[in-house]
Symmetry: C2
C-alpha cells in the first residue's frame, strides 16, 4: 500500500487555472430567478444595479463549463493556496474505524475560512469594472473578514453590515474586519430605509442576516459606483468555490484515492457546492457514483424540513426571488442556536440537485456537533469552526457505521474553517449550558407563511 502522508499539498502550479461551473453539466437546471418588480424571469441586466457586470454574467451563465481564473486572482490565491488535504489518521484511530477519513482544510488563512476564495474574486471584478466601493453583510463574521482582506488588497472601500447581536458579542471579529480597513456598521442601522423601518418597529432587535442583506443591498443600489457582494447562496459563489473541490480531486488522484462519501456543512451552500463540484460532475456524467451528504443544523433545517419554493434572499424582499429549499425569509432560528449556518434558504443549484436525488441531507443537533468538534480538536489538534463541525459530526457517524459493517470506505469532508472567534459557544458546550432546539411544525409554518405569492408561478 502506498504510504500516504498526513498532509497532501499540491504545488503552486497545481492550483486550478479555471473554475468549474457545475450548471454546465446539470441535466435539469434550477428554475430561473424572478424579478420581483415584473414577476418575470430575471435577465442578466436586471442584476447590474446590484452586482458588477462580470459577476452578473457568471450568475446567469449556465453553459460555460470552465471559466478562466484571472491572473490577479491566481496571484492572490498563491498567498494561501493550495490548501492541504489531510488524512485524519488520529481521528480514525480514536474511532477504531476501518474507514479512511480525509478532510480539505480551508481554515489556514487569516479569514479563517473558505470564504476568501470568492471574496477575492468578487473584489477583483469590482475593481476591474472601476467601481469605487462595495457593501456586504456578515453574521458570524467569516465572510466580512474575508471580503475586508480582499478589498484591502485591491484598494476598494468596503462597508460591512454586521448583524447587531454579532457586532456586540464578537468585538474581536469586528476588530479584525476593521484592521483590514473596512467600515463596520451594526445592523439594523439608521443608515438605510430598511434599517430605519425595522428599528422603528422593534428598537431592541438584535438583527438578522436577512435584514443585514437588505441594508447592504439598499446601500449599494443607492450609492454611485457601489455594488453589493454576497458570500454564499449565489451561483457565482459556487463557481469560485469550485477551487476547493478541484484541488481535492487532484490531491486524491495523487494518492490513488476516490471518495465513497463526500460530506459538507450547508448554510447557504458555498462550501458544499465548491467541495462537491467536480465529484458531482462525475456523478452527473456517470463516471462515478459517490454519496454526497449535506449537513445542516436541526435548528435551521432548510434541506430536511424546508419547502422547495420561490423565496426572497432578504427580509426586506428587495432581492430577486430564487427557487430553493427555504424555511421562508421570515424564519428566525432559535436564539439558542450557536453554530452559524442560520440562513433561511439554500443555493438554488444545490437545491435542484437535492430535489432531483443527486445528494442526501441530514440535520444534526448542536450538542452532538460540539461533541464532535471537541473530539476532533483533541485528535487532529485543529479547533474547528462550529459550522465545519457539522460535517465532522456526520463524517464521524459514517466512520462509526463503517466500524459496524467492517467496510473501509473513503470519506472526504470539508473543514471550512477555524473556531477562534466561537469560544463563547465552546464554553457553553463545555459548561453544559448548551441546549438543542428543534423547531416545531408551528414554528416552521410561520416561516412558510412569509413565502411570496407570484401570480401564475407560486400561488
Amino acid at each position: 500500500m502506498k504510504n500516504i502522508p498526513h498532509r497532501i499539498y499540491l504545488t503552486e502550479d497545481q492550483i486550478p487555472r479555471q473554475w468549474y461551473n457545475l450548471r454546465a453539466d446539470m441535466k435539469q437546471l434550477p428554475d430561473p430567478m424572478i424579478n420581483p418588480a415584473t414577476g418575470k424571469p430575471a435577465v442578466e441586466a436586471d442584476l447590474y444595479p446590484v452586482f458588477c457586470e462580470k459577476l452578473a454574467h457568471q450568475e446567469m451563465d449556465n453553459e460555460t463549463r470552465f471559466v478562466d481564473i484571472p491572473e490577479e486572482i491566481l496571484e492572490f490565491y498563491k498567498m494561501y493556496r493550495p490548501s492541504p488535504l489531510i488524512r485524519a489518521y488520529n481521528l480514525e484511530k480514536a474511532l477504531d474505524t476501518p474507514a479512511k477519513i480525509y478532510y480539505k482544510f480551508e481554515g489556514n488563512n487569516t479569514s479563517g475560512s473558505h470564504k476568501l476564495n470568492s471574496a477575492v474574486a468578487q473584489a477583483y471584478y469590482a475593481k476591474e469594472q472601476g467601481l469605487t466601493s462595495l457593501t456586504t453583510e456578515t453574521g458570524a463574521g467569516q465572510w466580512g473578514t474575508a471580503l475586508a482582506e480582499a478589498c484591502s488588497f485591491f484598494g476598494l472601500p468596503l462597508t460591512v453590515y454586521m448583524v447587531k447581536v454579532s457586532y456586540e458579542q464578537k468585538p474581536f471579529r469586528k476588530a479584525v474586519i476593521q484592521t483590514f480597513g473596512a467600515d463596520v456598521i451594526p445592523s439594523p442601522s439608521n443608515t438605510t430605509e430598511a434599517g430605519r423601518k425595522i428599528l422603528a418597529e422593534n428598537p431592541e432587535t438584535g438583527g438578522s442576516l436577512g435584514c443585514a442583506i437588505s441594508e447592504a443591498v439598499e446601500k449599494a443600489v443607492t450609492t454611485p459606483g457601489c455594488r453589493y457582494v454576497l458570500g454564499s447562496v449565489l451561483n457565482q459563489v459556487l463557481l469560485h468555490q469550485s477551487v476547493i473541490g478541484l484541488e481535492s480531486m487532484t490531491a486524491m488522484e495523487m494518492i490513488d484515492e476516490y471518495p465513497d462519501i463526500i460530506i459538507g456543512c450547508a448554510g447557504g451552500g458555498s462550501n458544499l457546492g465548491g467541495l462537491i463540484a467536480p465529484f458531482m460532475r462525475d456523478k452527473l456524467t456517470g463516471k462515478a457514483d459517490p454519496r454526497i451528504i449535506a449537513v445542516e443544523p436541526a435548528s435551521c433545517p432548510s434541506f430536511t424540513r424546508g419547502r422547495y419554493a420561490y423565496d426572497f434572499c432578504d427580509t426586506a424582499k428587495i432581492t430577486p426571488m430564487a427557487k430553493m429549499y427555504t424555511l421562508g425569509s421570515g424564519f428566525m432560528p432559535s436564539p439558542n442556536h450557536a453554530g452559524g449556518l442560520r440562513y433561511h434558504g439554500m443555493s438554488p443549484v444545490l437545491s435542484k440537485l437535492y430535489h432531483d436525488g443527486y445528494m442526501e441531507a441530514v440535520s444534526v443537533e448542536q450538542t452532538r456537533v460540539f461533541e464532535a468538534a471537541v473530539l476532533f480538536a483533541k485528535q487532529e489538534t485543529i479547533l474547528p469552526a462550529p459550522e465545519s463541525a457539522h460535517a465532522i459530526r456526520t463524517a464521524i457517524d459514517e466512520a462509526l457505521r463503517c466500524r459496524e459493517t467492517g467496510e473501509a470506505k473513503t470519506i472526504l469532508f470539508g473543514l471550512t474553517g477555524t473556531g477562534y472567534f466561537d469560544m463563547t459557544a465552546y464554553s457553553a458546550y463545555l459548561e453544559k449550558r448548551m441546549v438543542d432546539h428543534i423547531p416545531s411544525d408551528e414554528e416552521l409554518q410561520k416561516g412558510f407563511d412569509s413565502l411570496p405569492k407570484i401570480p401564475g408561478i407560486q400561488e
Copy 2:
C-alpha cells in the same frame, strides 16, 4: 532566474528527523546554572524534581550535536509540519524594495504559534517517563494552548497557571485551553504558598509571568508524579525549536537562496533560537556570515538595556539561577505594553552569543510594531501576533534600507504566530489609544536591584 513560488512547502519526508543542538558548536558555552540552595553549579540530577529526566538531560547536554526526534513526536509534527516558508512578494512590492523577503510561518496550527514544537516534545517525554500530570504557566496564552493540545493528545492532565490579568482579559484564550481539557487557574491563586504570599501582600494584583512560573513550579514539586514545563528560555526549548531553522534552511536550499539577514522577535528566545540555529552554526563554523538580529520591545529591553548577570527565572526565586541578559526578576513592564515578549530575562544561549558578538539586537516601540503589523496584514493577508510583528517591523526597516542603498539583500524573518486573540491591542492601535513607554533608567534600576547576590560569583 528561477521562478520561486509564494509558498515553499517541504514534503513530509523533509521534516527534520533530528533536532540540532547549537551548544555543541559554540566556542564558548554559557556559564552553568547555579543551584540557589548550594550556590554551586547545578548538575543534571538537581533538575529532576522540576523537569522530567530526558528533558533535564537535554537541558544540560552541551555536547550532542544532533538529537534524534522520537517517532511519536515526528508523527505529531506531521499533523502540522512542515510549515511553509513564504516569499513576501506583495510586501516587497508595497515597500518598493529590491530586497527579497522570506518568512517562516509557524502560525498555521491551532495553538497559533511555534510553541507547539516544544510542547509536544515536553509532553511526550513526560508521558514516556510515566509521569501523571504537568504544570505550566501562560501569559498571552499561546504556550498554554500549545501545551494543552499536546497533553490532550498524550492523555496527560495539565494545570495551567494563567497570569490573572490575561485570564480576565482573554476569556476566549482560556476557553481554547479548556477545550483541550486543561485546568486553568488564574495566578496568583490560593493553590500555592507562592500565590498565597503574593495575594496577602497585594490582593488586587493582576499577576505576572514570574509569579505564575513560581506557582507552577511549586505545584509540580509538591505533587507526586508531576513535573513543570516551560515554553521558552530553556536550552531544551531551543533544541526543540531548531526544527524551525532546519526546515527554513532546507527550503532556502531548494530555491538556491541563503539569507543575508535573519530576524526574529525575542521574549525568552524560543523562536529566535530555533530559527537561527543552523544559520548560527554556519556562522560559528565560518561557513557563512549572515547578520542575525533579535528584536525586542522598547518597553522590555533585556538585550539592549539589560545586564548580563545571574538571575532567577521566577519572582519567587525558587528556580535555578541562569546567566543571561536580564532586567531583574523584579522588573515589571509598563501596563501599557500590549505585545507579549514581557519576560524579564533571555535564553542563556542567546545571551552568550549576543555577548560574544555573534548577533545584534534592536528594540522597537509598540506603535511602530502595530503599524508594521497592519501593513503586513493588508499585503500578505495574515494577521500577525503582536510578538511576531516585532520581527516584521525590523524586516521592513531593513528592506527600506535596501531601497536606499539599492541592495537586493535576502531577508528571512520568523512569523511566529497569529493575532486572533490580540484584537484588544489592535483596536487600541487603530483607535489611536496605544501609547509607547520607554522605561527610564530609574525604572530599570529597580529591576537590577532585584538581581541576586551569589558569594564568590556575583556580589
